[in-house]
C-alpha cells in the first residue's frame, strides 16, 4: 500500500470490509468481487510459502482452479508442517447435536473468547465457512470420529456451551493436514503445483511496489534461488518459539513474517500470545521443547499446591511426595478462587493462577515451577478403569516422559487412597498476533497475502480451543482462493517477472550479505545458548504477567542480546552446503527482532485483555481489566527501516455492530 500519510499524522488503515450487515458481508463480497477466467488463470503464477493447514489447502485449491502454484516448506515433506501436531479438534457450527448451535453462536463465542479484540466481519465469515470445511474434509476421506449410527461425533471444548468440536482421535491436526496434503499431491501429480521441500524463504522481492517473488535457500545445497510470481502468499505459522521453550515444533519460526515486516507489511497485535496451562513442566536446562497435555484433563483432574509453604519446600527438596499430603492440607486454588468454573476456567485465567502460587513459593517440583493435577478424587469416585478409558493415552504419554504413572496408587492416609499426581505448568502455545491483513487477507504490501496462524487472524486477544485449525482451513480452502482473484484480475496482462532483474539481484545480494555476516562473526556462543537466553528474558518479563518496568527492562536486555548475537555468535562450517547451525542462526536473528516487537506492543497496551496481562491493570480480585475507551483497536506496527530503530504504531479502530462489548466473568 502506498504510504500517503506522513509519520506525524495517524495513517488511516483501510481494512476493506464490505458493506452491509455482518451476516451478509461475505455473500455481498463474493457477488461483486472480480474473478479471473479459466484461460487467464493458466497465465498466472502464485507462490505459497508454507504447507501447514493454511498453505497446503490454499496451494491445492489454487492449483485445482488452474493457477500455477509454487509451494515451499522447510521440512523434508509438506506433510510434516507443524499443523500435524494439533490434537484436540476443529470447530464448526453444524448443530448436529441439536444443542442450539448456529453460525451466529460460533461467531459470538469466538469474539467473546477473544476478549472483544477481533474484527467482527472476519470472525463472522470464519463461522460462516466453518461448516464447509467439515463437508470438504469428509469428502477427502478424513476419518473423523463417528457414532454407532454412522454419523459424525462431537466433543465439547472450552469457551462454549455447545458440543461443536469434530475430531479424529487425539490426532485431528494430523488427519486434516494429511487430507490437505492428499489434495496437494493430486495437484503436484497434475503438474499444477510445484513442490519445494527443504527450502527456506529468506526475503520478498518487490517490483514497482508489489510483491513479485521470493528469495529462498535450498537447505541441502545452501544455494540461494530466485522465484517469481504474480502474487505471494505467506502461510508460515506462528512465532511462539521466540520464547525458546514452547509447545511448537522445533522448526517453527517467524523469519518469513519478519521478512514481510521489513518490506513494509504491518505487524498486528504481537503482544497477544497464548499460554496453555497444562503442559509438562520444564525439567532442566537441557530441555528442547515443552509437551502439551490435553485441556480435557481438567474435566476430572483437580489442580492444587500445598497450603503450607513448609510442605512446598519439602516437596521441592524431594523429601516428600505429593501423595504424602492429605486432602485437608491441599489448596485447590482454582476451586477456591473461581467457585463457578473451578478447574475449568479459560486458559489464560488458569495459567495466571498457577504462576501466582509459584511466585509466592508454593510451587512443587525441584524447580518450584509446577503445580499438581490430581486424579485421586476422580479415581476413587469412578474407578481407575473409567479414568483410564478417558485419559489412558495421556497417562501413558506422561509416564513415558516423566517416568511417573498418574494411574498408580501411591499412598493411603486415614483410609483415603492417593494416586500419583501429574505435575503441570503453563507454556507458550499459540500466537494470536501476526502479519496485519485486510478483509481480503492481503497485507499492507500489494500482492502479498498472509493466511493461517501467521496473520493476526480472527482470534482477537485470545484463541479458543479448536479454532486455529478452523481458521487455517477457512483461509486456505474458502477465503484466499476467492479474494486473491480480486487482486489478480487486473494482472492478467502482466507477464510473470523474470528473475534476472535488478530487483532480484538486489534482494539476493541482501540475503547473501546477511548470511555472510552471520558466518563472519566467529564469536564464542552457540545459537542455542543465545536463543535460550532470549527465551528467559521473554518468559520472565514478557510472559504471563507483564509490567511497565519489566517491559522496559526486557527492551534493554534484548538490545544487549542483539549486540551479543552480532558480536559473539559462533556458527561452524561454511555457507555452502547443508549447515543446520546457520539455519538456526538466521531464524534467531528474527526471533530477537520479534521479541522486541512483542515487548513494544505489550508496553503500549495499557490494559489487560486475553493473553495480554498487565499487572497494573487488574481488578481487586486479580482479574484482567480491559480499557475499551482507549485500546479498542488493532495495534499495527510499521517497520522503522532498520532493526535497531523503534517501530511506529498505527491504529486500526474496531467497530462492533452485531455484538455488545462486555466484561468476561468466570466467577459466577
Amino acid at each position: 500500500m502506498e504510504e500517503t500519510i506522513i509519520k506525524t499524522a495517524q495513517p488511516v488503515i483501510d481494512s476493506r470490509i464490505p458493506e452491509g450487515p455482518v451476516a451478509e458481508k461475505w455473500t455481498n463480497y463474493k457477488a461483486h468481487q472480480k474473478l479471473v477466467n479459466p484461460a487467464n488463470k493458466r497465465k498466472l503464477t502464485i507462490i505459497v510459502v508454507g504447507t501447514g493447514l493454511a498453505g497446503a489447502s490454499a496451494a491445492a485449491t489454487l492449483g485445482e482452479m488452474g493457477f500455477n502454484v509454487l509451494n515451499f516448506c522447510i521440512q523434508d515433506s509438506p506433510r510434516r508442517a507443524h499443523s500435524i501436531a494439533a490434537q484436540g479438534g476443529i470447530n464448526a457450527a453444524k448443530n448436529y447435536q441439536n444443542d442450539g448451535d448456529s453460525v451466529y453462536r460460533l461467531f459470538y463465542d469466538t469474539v467473546k473468547g477473544g476478549d472483544y479484540r477481533a474484527r467482527e466481519a472476519n470472525v463472522y465469515r470464519l463461522a460462516e465457512v466453518a461448516n464447509n470445511i467439515i463437508d470438504q474434509c469428509v469428502a477427502q476421506g478424513v476419518p473423523f470420529a463417528r457414532e454407532y449410527g454412522g454419523l459424525l461425533a462431537n466433543r465439547s471444548f472450552g469457551g462454549a456451551q455447545v458440543s461443536r468440536t469434530f475430531y479424529a482421535k487425539g490426532q485431528t491436526g494430523q488427519q486434516l493436514l494429511l487430507g490437505a496434503y492428499s489434495s496437494l499431491n493430486r495437484q503436484i501429480n497434475a503438474g499444477k503445483v510445484k513442490s519445494y521441500n527443504r527450502y527456506e524463504m529468506h526475503d520478498i522481492v518487490m517490483i514497482d511496489g508489489r510483491a513479485r517473488g521470493i528469495i529462498a535457500r535450498n537447505l541441502v545445497t545452501g544455494k540461494l534461488e530466485r522465484f517469481a510470481a504474480h502474487a505471494v502468499v505467506i502461510a508460515t505459522g506462528g512465532y511462539g518459539n521466540t520464547y525458546f521453550l514452547s509447545t511448537n515444533a522445533m522448526g517453527c519460526n517467524c523469519s518469513a513474517a519478519m521478512a514481510c515486516y521489513r518490506q513494509g507489511a504491518y505487524f498486528a497485535n504481537p503482544a497477544y500470545v497464548q499460554i496453555h496451562p497444562t503442559c509438562i513442566p520444564v525439567h532442566g536446562d537441557k530441555q528442547s521443547k515443552l509437551t502439551l497435555m490435553s485441556e480435557s484433563l481438567r474435566n476430572d483432574g483437580r489442580i492444587w499446591v500445598p497450603k503450607d509453604i513448609e510442605e512446598a519446600k519439602k516437596l521441592q527438596a524431594g523429601e516428600i511426595k505429593g501423595s504424602d499430603i492429605p486432602e485437608e492440607r491441599r489448596d485447590y486454588y482454582l476451586e477456591r478462587r473461581y467457585p463457578a468454573f473451578g478447574n475449568l476456567v479459560p486458559r489464560d485465567v488458569a495459567s495466571r493462577a498457577a504462576k501466582e502460587r509459584c511466585d509466592k513459593g508454593f510451587g512443587v517440583n525441584n524447580t518450584g515451577q509446577a503445580v499438581f493435577l490430581d486424579f485421586s478424587e476422580a479415581i476413587n469416585r469412578l474407578g481407575i478403569d473409567v479414568i483410564r478409558q478417558r485419559y489412558g493415552n495421556l497417562f501413558d504419554m506422561y509416564e513415558e516422559i516423566t517416568d511417573v504413572n498418574p494411574g498408580e496408587k501411591a499412598n493411603t492416609i486415614d483410609g483415603v487412597d492417593y494416586y500419583n499426581p501429574m505435575m503441570i505448568y503453563p507454556a507458550i502455545h499459540y500466537t494470536m498476533g501476526g502479519i496485519w491483513v485486510d478483509y481480503e487477507l492481503q497485507t499492507s504490501v500489494k500482492g502479498l497475502f498472509a493466511i493461517g496462524e501467521c496473520n493476526f487472524s480472527d482470534h482477537g486477544a485470545n484463541r479458543l480451543g479448536a479454532s486455529a485449525l478452523m481458521q487455517g482451513l477457512a483461509d486456505g480452502y474458502f477465503v484466499l482462493p476467492y479474494t486473491i482473484q480480486n487482486y489478480l484480475s487486473d494482472q492478467i496482462t502482466v507477464p510473470c517477472p523474470t528473475t534476472d532483474s535488478k530487483e532480484f539481484d538486489e534482494a539476493e545480494a541482501r540475503v547473501q550479505k546477511n548470511l555472510e555476516h552471520i558466518m563472519a562473526i566467529q564469536g564464542k556462543r552457540s545459537v542455542d545458548s543465545i536463543h535460550k537466553e532470549l527465551g528467559h528474558i521473554m518468559w520472565e518479563y514478557v510472559g504471563m504477567g507483564r509490567t511497565r518496568e519489566g517491559l522496559l527492562t526486557a527492551l534493554d536486555k534484548l538490545k544487549a542480546l542483539r549486540e551479543e548475537f552480532e558480536t559473539n555468535l559462533f556458527v561452524p562450517g561454511t555457507i555452502e552446503g547443508l549447515n543446520i547451525e546457520l539455519d538456526k542462526a538466521f531464524r534467531l536473528r528474527d526471533f530477537i527482532t520479534m521479541g522486541e516487537l512483542i515487548a513494544h506492543d505489550a508496553l503500549n497496551r495499557n490494559e489487560s485483555c486475553g493473553g495480554h496481562f498487565r499487572e497494573e491493570h487488574q481488578t481487586e480480585e486479580g482479574e484482567a481489566k480491559r480499557d475499551d475507551e482507549n485500546y479498542f483497536y488493532v495495534a499495527c506496527w510499521k517497520y522503522g527501516g532498520s532493526d535497531e530503530v523503534e517501530p511506529t504504531l498505527i491504529k486500526e479502530p474496531l467497530h462492533y455492530e452485531a455484538i455488545k462489548v462486555q466484561t468476561r466473568n468466570y466467577k459466577s
Partner: protein, 251 residues
C-alpha cells in the same frame, strides 16, 4: 527417578551423499536420564560446536511422535529399543551407565543419505502423489452427514491413516520394501466409501511408483510392523494385496 549416566556414543558421520561415511565415537558423561534421546544429541552437538566442530545432522521437528521427521537406527532398531514410539519419544532412562549406543541413519537404496543421520525420503511423497488421494475439488461437497459411515470402518480407517510416513518400515525390512507404508494409505481409502470409486487406479498407480523408485519386494517377514512406531498392522498389507488382485482381475 532422575540419575545421570555415562556412555559411549558411536555415531555414523558422512559429509555428503557421495562421501564415504564412518563411525565416530563420543564419550558422553553425566547425562540425566530424563533427557530425551534427541536432547542428548543436542547436548553432543552443543559440545561439538563449542569445540568449533560441525554438529551431527539429524532430522527432527515436532518431538512428540507425530510429524514423522525423526528417524535413527539405534542399536539395530529403527526408532530405538522402545516399541510403539518414535526416536523423539525415547528417553535416556532406557539406557544404562557404561553402555555403548550405536546410531545410524535409515539404510535403504530408496532413501539416499544427505549428511550424517539425515536421509532423503522424497520417494514417499512421490508414491503418495501417484494416487494417495480422493479426486475431489474444493467446494461442492455435500453435507458431511449425508454419507453415514459405520463406526467400525471409520475407526479402522483411522488406524491405517495414523501412519506418520517416517520410513522405519523400510529401514527395518531386509528387502527395503515400502509395503507397510503404501498399504496403510491404500487401506484407509479402501475402507471408506469416498475412496472406493478410484480404488483400482489408486492401488495400481501407487504400487507401480513404489517399484519404479527402487523399493524392494515384500516377502512377508513382518519386520516392518514389528518396528512401526504407530503399530500399523500387517493386515493392511493383506488388504493391499487383495485390492491389487481385484484391480488386476478387472483389467
Amino acid at each position: 527417578m532422575e540419575t545421570n549416566i555415562s556412555f559411549k556414543l558411536k555415531v555414523w558421520r558422512q559429509a555428503g551423499p557421495k562421501e564415504k561415511g564412518h563411525f565416530e565415537t563420543y564419550e558422553m558423561s553425566d547425562i540425566p536420564t530424563d533427557t530425551s534421546f534427541l536432547e542428548m544429541l543436542d547436548i553432543l552437538n552443543e559440545q561439538l560446536v563449542e569445540k568449533g566442530e560441525e554438529p551431527v545432522a539429524f532430522d527432527h521437528d515436532c518431538r512428540e511422535g507425530i510429524c514423522g521427521m525423526c528417524s535413527l537406527y539405534i542399536n539395530g532398531h529403527p526408532h530405538g529399543p522402545a516399541t510403539g514410539a518414535t526416536t523423539c519419544q525415547l528417553y535416556m532412562r532406557r539406557f544404562h551407565d557404561g553402555d555403548t549406543i550405536t546410531v545410524e541413519p535409515w539404510r535403504s537404496a530408496a532413501f539416499p543419505i544427505i549428511r550424517d543421520l539425515m536421509v532423503n525420503r522424497n520417494a514417499f511423497d512421490q508414491i503418495q502423489q501417484a494416487g494417495g488421494y480422493v479426486s475431489f475439488n474444493t467446494g461442492g461437497a455435500q453435507d458431511a452427514n449425508a454419507l453415514p459411515i459405520s463406526k467400525v470402518a471409520a475407526d479402522e480407517a483411522m488406524d491405517s491413516a495414523s501412519c506418520i510416513g517416517c520410513g522405519a518400515c523400510v529401514a527395518a525390512c531386509k528387502n527395503g520394501s515400502a509395503m507397510l507404508f503404501v498399504s496403510a494409505k491404500v487401506s484407509q481409502f479402501a475402507l471408506l466409501p469416498q475412496g472406493k470409486v478410484e480404488a483400482k487406479r489408486r492401488v495400481k498407480a501407487m504400487l507401480a511408483k513404489m517399484d519404479e523408485l527402487g523399493f524392494g519386494n515384500c516377502t512377508n517377514t513382518g519386520a516392518c510392523a514389528a518396528e512401526c512406531p504407530k503399530n500399523i498392522k500387517l493386515s493392511n498389507i493383506a488388504r493391499l494385496n487383495r485390492e491389487f488382485l481385484c484391480a488386476k482381475c478387472s483389467d
